[in-house]
């Protein structure tokens, strides 16, 4: 542990050096203050946002969007992927549709979704969930199809039904694939959440970053950007932790 912390020192020192360099460059007038305020000014805004609690509303709005969209999209992706991997009839029915929908850059669907679902949460959650679904679905499908036949045969000889086999054999065995898909999707979820907030212009960190830029409140823009970066970092770390827990569980089963 101490070793690990020690290994972080050069990297953090480098970041500190970068920030100090930036601070100096702005002070020396090498960078235009109107475009790139010094890190200390951004830090002051961050402190303000933190102490006034102003940070909480937008932060929760974005997190809520990401969590619900991610959970929904993952659930649909896992369910459909499992069904398609297990029953060939389901595969035949859904495969052309999935292949048609999958390559659409989901960002392109935000404007039509806005027409249909309006500008509220439904629309934003749907965009996030759509982006999440397909990587999870495809990976789940791959995982389910790759399950060892020997395991399946032994489940059958034990007289296990479909539900039990899926839950105790197929899902644990395909878990690494599902998690890999979910990891890809997590990044996409955040991208779509920010984009949807920018295009609908309400709540959330994405909207604020764009809004601050448009109002030329540049320090505030960078402060919200830093907050969003921390959110991304925290979500990744959280997922990494959940992933290792899940894989532990899989190994035990």
């Amino acid at each position: 542990m101490a070793r690990r912390l020690l290994s972080l020192v050069p990297g953090l020192a480098f970041i500190a050096l970068l920030l100090a360099g930036l601070e100096w460059a702005v002070d020396a007038g090498l960078v235009r203050r109107a475009l790139m305020p010094p890190p200390s000014a951004i830090w002051a805004v961050l402190q303000d946002l933190g102490t006034s609690g102003e940070v909480l509303g937008p932060l929760f709005a974005t997190l809520r969007l990401v969590f619900i969209g991610f959970a929904l999209g993952s659930a649909v992706g896992i369910a459909l992927g499992t069904a398609m991997g297990w029953w060939s009839a389901a595969f035949r029915l859904l495969e052309p549709l999935v292949e048609m929908m999958r390559p659409i850059p989901k960002a392109a669907l935000v404007p039509p979704l806005m027409l249909f679902l309006g500008l509220g949460d439904t629309m934003k959650i749907t965009s996030v969930a759509l982006a999440v679904t397909f990587p999870v679905l495809v990976n789940t499908l791959q995982g389910v199809r790759g399950v060892d036949r020997v395991l399946l045969d032994s489940a059958r000889t034990h007289g296990w039904g479909t539900g039990r086999t899926l839950r105790h054999v197929v899902l644990p065995a395909s878990l690494p694939f599902i998690l890999a898909g979910m990891r890809t999707s997590l990044g996409l979820a955040l991208i779509l959440a920010v984009l949807a907030e920018m295009l609908t212009g309400q709540g959330g960190l994405g909207f604020l970053i764009l809004d601050m830029q448009r109002s030329f409140l540049i320090r505030q823009m960078y402060a919200w950007l830093v907050i969003l970066a921390l959110v991304g970092l925290a979500l990744n770390a959280l997922f990494g932790w959940a992933e290792s827990r899940a894989l532990h569980w899989q190994q035990r089963n």
Binding site: R33, A34, L35, M114, L115, G118, L119, G120, T200, G201, Q202, F207, L210, D211, Q213, R214, S215, F216, L217, I218
Partner: protein, 322 residues
């Protein structure tokens, strides 16, 4: 530059030569101007199509940005020489130390209705005034721009507290649907979307106010903006730009309500001509007065956009003054 605007520009260039006898063999100075496809920029497009800029030795390369994001950041980044922008956004940049200067007027509110902004509400929804909107949702295309500002002023003028109204950003084309479906309780919309909304959803929605002419009759609205160092360096270019633009203003003002103007607007906005027949147009002035900029600043400070602003007079480039 987008292929859409390039095509429009090409079409204009092909159609124009007869109208531009002064077209000389010498190379034209290229000038990149950022615009939004709204009614306010009709004179600029008219001046391009009629060859008024070519006659001044300028080739205007319009860059059309959709939506709320204006071209002002592109001005800062040095990509545009001039930008069409609503007054509020420009002044917010000025407040943060950016050296924006007004080159010419683009549009002004009419002294009385009809005007280009309107407050729309659901029929039978019980919303008639700003007072009724307290605690309700009011859609504006962007926060902190002229539409929002005049909308807030309208709320207060009609007895409401603007702080108690929830502003939601909705793009103009989606406002009618959002209103009809109950996602918002009212919206501040702009032409040609007001007319389009009343045509497509007329049985469900109605107009309840004219925020521009009710709160700031004849008030300033949008402008062409440059950046001070460039204006100082290339003063002559901007003189020629303003001359060409002013001829475009005359062309448009002479053709209010005539099909040529509708056709011009349909071309650059891409809104079908039949939807444009009944739209209200803004006033197209040439000059900006220091007083109207000061009025705008005072209004901004009243509605939460406080801070230190320079005087209106110091923000007007010489081409903007009469």
């Amino acid at each position: 530059m987008t292929d859409i605007t390039r095509r429009a520009a090409l079409g204009a260039a092909i159609a124009a030569p007869l109208a531009a006898p002064a077209l000389r063999a010498q190379a034209l100075t290229k000038m990149r101007v950022s615009v939004i496809p709204v009614l306010d920029v009709a004179p600029l497009h008219a001046a391009i199509a009629q060859g008024y800029f070519a006659a001044e030795g300028i080739e205007i390369d319009t860059s059309t940005t959709a939506g709320g994001a204006t071209g002002l950041p592109g001005l800062v980044a040095g990509q545009f020489r001039a930008v069409f922008s609503n007054g509020v956004s420009t002044l917010l940049g000025v407040r943060e130390g950016l050296e924006f200067r007004f080159i010419a007027a683009a549009s002004r509110a009419m002294p009385q209705p009809p005007d280009i902004l309107a407050v729309l509400a659901r029929k039978g929804g019980g919303i008639r005034t700003g007072k009724d909107l307290e605690g309700k949702r009011l859609a504006s295309n962007t926060r902190n721009n002229i539409v929002w500002l005049r909308g807030m002023a309208w709320v207060e003028k009609t007895g409401g507290d603007w702080r108690k109204v929830n502003t939601i950003e909705v793009p103009f084309p989606q406002m009618a649907d959002a209103l009809a479906n109950g996602q918002v309780d009212a919206c501040v919309s702009s032409e040609p979307f007001v007319t389009a909304a009343l045509q497509s959803h007329g049985e469900k929605i109605e107009r309840i106010g004219w925020p521009l002419s009710e709160t700031a009759p004849g008030g300033t609205n949008a402008h062409y903006v440059g950046i001070a160092p460039d204006l100082a360096k290339s003063g002559d270019l901007f003189d020629r730009f303003a001359r060409g633009l002013h001829k475009g203003v005359d062309w448009v003002n002479e053709r209010r309500g005539r099909p040529e103007l509708i056709e011009l607007i349909a071309n650059f906005s891409r809104v079908p001509a039949e939807r444009l027949k009944d739209v209200a147009l803004p006033a197209y002035p040439k000059e900006i007065t220091p007083a109207e900029i000061d009025e705008l600043v005072a209004t901004m400070q009243r509605y939460g956009l406080s801070g230190r602003y320079p005087t209106g007079a110091s923000l007007l480039h010489r081409t903007a003054q009469a």
